[in-house]
Symmetry: C2
Subunit: 327 residues, 2 copies
């Protein structure tokens, strides 16, 4: 009794949050994608930290440069989901002795390249020796507290929409983990999703600017898990009418005997946005988001849970996805 | 050629800084204790991240709660040296599977206790599985850019002063590493320095408020190393007339045959402040710092290097201290 495997990531987080307590200056609280602290009545400082660990977060075939880039993307994606522009970042590194100078150069290139992609400066940080490769990024942003997109806020009747098709990252991961396809032979779309994911920052910023989105989360913990988180924080249910599955996922699943819907729902490490939008404002919001939104369902009563009633199916979406310490 | 051992921590940092490039919005640049980014002409956001790694940063006998506390203290100390109050923090954890629920509770208590000591909220963060225990803290503060205390800024003739006696942390570390004294039998002052160091935040804030300090650094990399860093960034030399060695260090050194001066100069993990102050303003600065300053020497020309000419000695202070990857 009391092992981390039994406790799971959520149990660990609960212990820590209980001990830290919620700050009076933090209008958002624990359990969202980012942390916030009030600067003035209107203005929030937004902080985000996400740590990448070599032994658990790096799929076979990912270069060290891609790894460093992804560490940044994961952080930017959480700010994107809140509608917050990264203003600056810092990085703390844990580096195993076995790395070489060229690896350090690749890490540096991955970090600086990603910062350029998303137009913010990485200002410095800290370097340490460690057994695992560890890349811990912290980002700072600012936003008007009335504009920030939270996980809470979805209302019954809102449209649920996403910014992309799902499954490619998990199909790519299964392909290389189950040794179906060698990393260098992965179909282009799967390789891109697995090794070079993008944070949808532009879309997130546009959505926050409209004021029509009621809640938002990124899908990095998997579509199903993220829908559950959003629904829990908003005290609502969700009825899905569509799960957009990427063409490459369908092809991979059909050829190698996987369940494409399962890959799309219960994967992770895919950085799309999941948002809820007031029904009446959906068309103008879609325009603001430059057509990037795909409606996938509707917000319902909490008691209805999270279900998918597509074509001939009516299934319960389980709260499953990647959870550290349980795997 | 090209191993991290050959490259050393400084070599690694150089590669990364070159790749990141300096932001136009960063008036301080790399190589100081903290990172900064301009908010307005006067106001800076100050960011600090320091990562604690279990396998290299935790001395024998330190509890996991003390470890978590110290991870916070190390970050606060760097803000203290710049005269910046921590406004909020976040934490990313890497946790080995072998930890138990009670360990997590102790980490949580160590983190929250330290945040309370220094009066800022830890707002949240990220939890991961890793081989090493990793505690990566990031702090945010704000300061008027004209008030921040940098490593650069010391002028010839300034008084060099410190806020404490040196050696206790390294004496304590040698005592337990060389198995001279068991952790639980350590003299109180050595145990406190090693296991429960304090960041001198109040003094740092008071010093910045006076406007009389010209440069400042914390001594966490060792007194000698930190003096060299300050001198390098200020393009000056330093003539020490005194190295304040703690009584407990003298006793330990005499009894077990260590060089007390060496312990005081070349140790580390001791969180005093090292500041330079305009000579004419020293007395008023001392008052502002509530008598916490001990003058230890004077700023000289760069060409004079860093020397100690106490009683009968006139020695060159080497740039030695703890450097990751070289040990």
């Amino acid at each position: 009794m009391g092992s981390l495997k039994e406790l799971g990531e959520l149990g660990i987080i609960r212990i820590i949050e209980r001990s830290l307590g919620r700050s009076k200056r933090d209008p958002v609280g624990f359990g969202d994608d980012v942390s916030t602290v009030k600067l003035t009545n209107e203005r929030l400082a937004v902080l985000k930290t996400d740590m990448l660990v070599g032994s658990t977060d790096v799929p076979p075939g990912m270069t060290i440069r891609q790894t460093a880039r992804k560490a940044v993307v994961a952080n930017v994606s959480d700010l994107a989901a809140k509608g917050v522009k990264p203003y600056a970042g810092i990085v703390a590194l844990g580096l195993p002795q076995k790395l070489m100078r060229r690896d350090i150069q690749q890490i540096a290139n991955g970090l600086s390249g990603a910062a350029k992609e998303y137009h913010f400066p990485l200002l410095g940080g800290d370097t340490n020796e460690s057994k695992d490769l560890v890349i811990s990024i912290a980002l700072l942003g600012f936003i008007d507290g009335r504009r920030i997109l939270l996980r809470s806020g979805a209302k019954i009747g809102d449209v649920v929409a996403v910014t992309g098709d799902f499954g490619s990252a998990s199909a790519g991961l299964r392909a290389v983990l189950d040794r179906k396809i060698r990393p260098e032979k992965l179909p282009r779309e799967l390789a891109a999703a697995l090794y070079r994911p993008n944070a949808e920052l532009e879309t997130g910023l546009r959505l926050a600017a409209t004021g029509a989105a009621t809640a938002s989360i990124d899908s990095s913990d998997g579509l199903a898990w993220s829908l559950h988180e959003l629904a829990k924080m908003s005290h609502v249910g969700i009825r899905l009418t569509d799960v957009p599955i990427s063409e490459a996922t369908r092809k991979f699943a059909a050829y190698y005997g996987y369940d494409a819907l399962h890959l799309a729902l219960y994967g992770g490490e895919e950085y799309h946005l999941i948002v809820t939008v007031k029904q009446k404002l959906f068309r103008t919001t879609q325009k603001a988001a430059r057509g990037q939104l795909k409606p996938i369902g509707i917000v319902t009563k909490r008691s209805e849970g999270i279900r998918f009633s597509g074509n001939d199916e009516n299934i319960k979406i389980e709260m499953k996805g990647w959870e550290h310490f349980r795997q």
